[in-house]
Amino acid sequence: MIPAIIFAALAWIYILHLTDRSKLPFFKFLIGSVGFFILMMITLQPIITLPLAKAVAAAAGLIGNITGSFYSYYQYSLIFIRHGSESISLYVDYECSGVIEIFAFLSLLWFFPLYSWIEKTVISLIGVLYIFVANIIRLTVICLAIYWAGNDIFFFAHAILGRIVFYVLSIILFFYVFTRAQIIKQKVGNFTYGQHASDHI
């Protein structure tokens, strides 16, 4: 497995080098982001998921503890919610730990041509923290909705409400990192005097 990963990584770097030499920035971004994401999913995801899931469960549990509305068994990446006589255990597995989102964000960022290395490093740290907090807010919204309305609302809370909250927060992040940055950092073009100004020189 390891030789195959090393071979694939080398092939990816070579293709990136080719796109760079051929001045194909779009393909460099596309191939770079996808390759970096896959590489992180293969190499880092098994290492990071469990501690991240525990951290998410523990952080969400702190809010639950303060409000007295749900409980975290962080060693099992588990959040336990009760409403009346019903109960539900939410398991924070790799799909809800935020690990995929973090890798996706980093992949897009590190092959986004607009930022310098230092900027990318700073934005990476802020972005990872932001996604972590957004995920905790999402889980808190789901847990509180179940706590207030019971298990019947689980599907709505998880599939609609929680995701809307998470995606709104994600879009805000993406807007500031990718959309706004492109508009602000764009080249205005060659500087020329207008006809009216030239007449007065």
Binding site: Y76, S89, F154, I183
Partner: protein, 219 residues
Amino acid sequence: MKKLRQLSFLFVSLFVVLAFFNIAVYAAEDDIIMLDEASGNAYTPIVIDGSFSDWSDKPSSPIYYSASQPHTASLYRDEDNVYLRIKMSDPGYAFVGNQYKFLIDGKDYTFDIVASSGSIQNGLNNMDVIRSNGYQLVAVASARLYRQSGQPDEMEMMIPLDYFYRQPNMLKTITFSSSNLGTQSITATGVSTMPIFFVASGLVAIAAGYIIKMRKQKA
């Protein structure tokens, strides 16, 4: 932008206020292990051996009918198995193992938990897990029951997740209920973020920035 900020502030304020709005929990609070009361931070795997100490740091819930004392049930899953523990309400209420319904991602599986020897004796009992429909023994499952005079019966069982589905990591929601114990159900589930939408919104944000930039440059 100002309105958006005001709306965000309103939403956050409402969220914080409602978070402290408590709902009555109709159960013995002793059943809940609080974060700071949990017996340890270490991961304790469950072993089906008739000793129940490995359940002490897992959440449990009451199952009951309104007129009766609550039984205690714990449902737990890991990557490979689903586990269930039932503690009967009092010594006078003998273990009832019929019609244990597991709803696995919307599909019903009902089991009977019966003594391998035919009847439950004092001490440790090996139990068989049998599909109620067709009365087939689930050989990959295991269960133990402990009976001690003056103490309520306590049972733990395990079923491998690949018994339900070939790819256990694809299983999302497991719900347990038993009409012989009470009306409540216990659910163990994951809450996926649907990462594909996250990636898509990132790409849309990049594309939107690029389109706006090109339009501005043209203008």
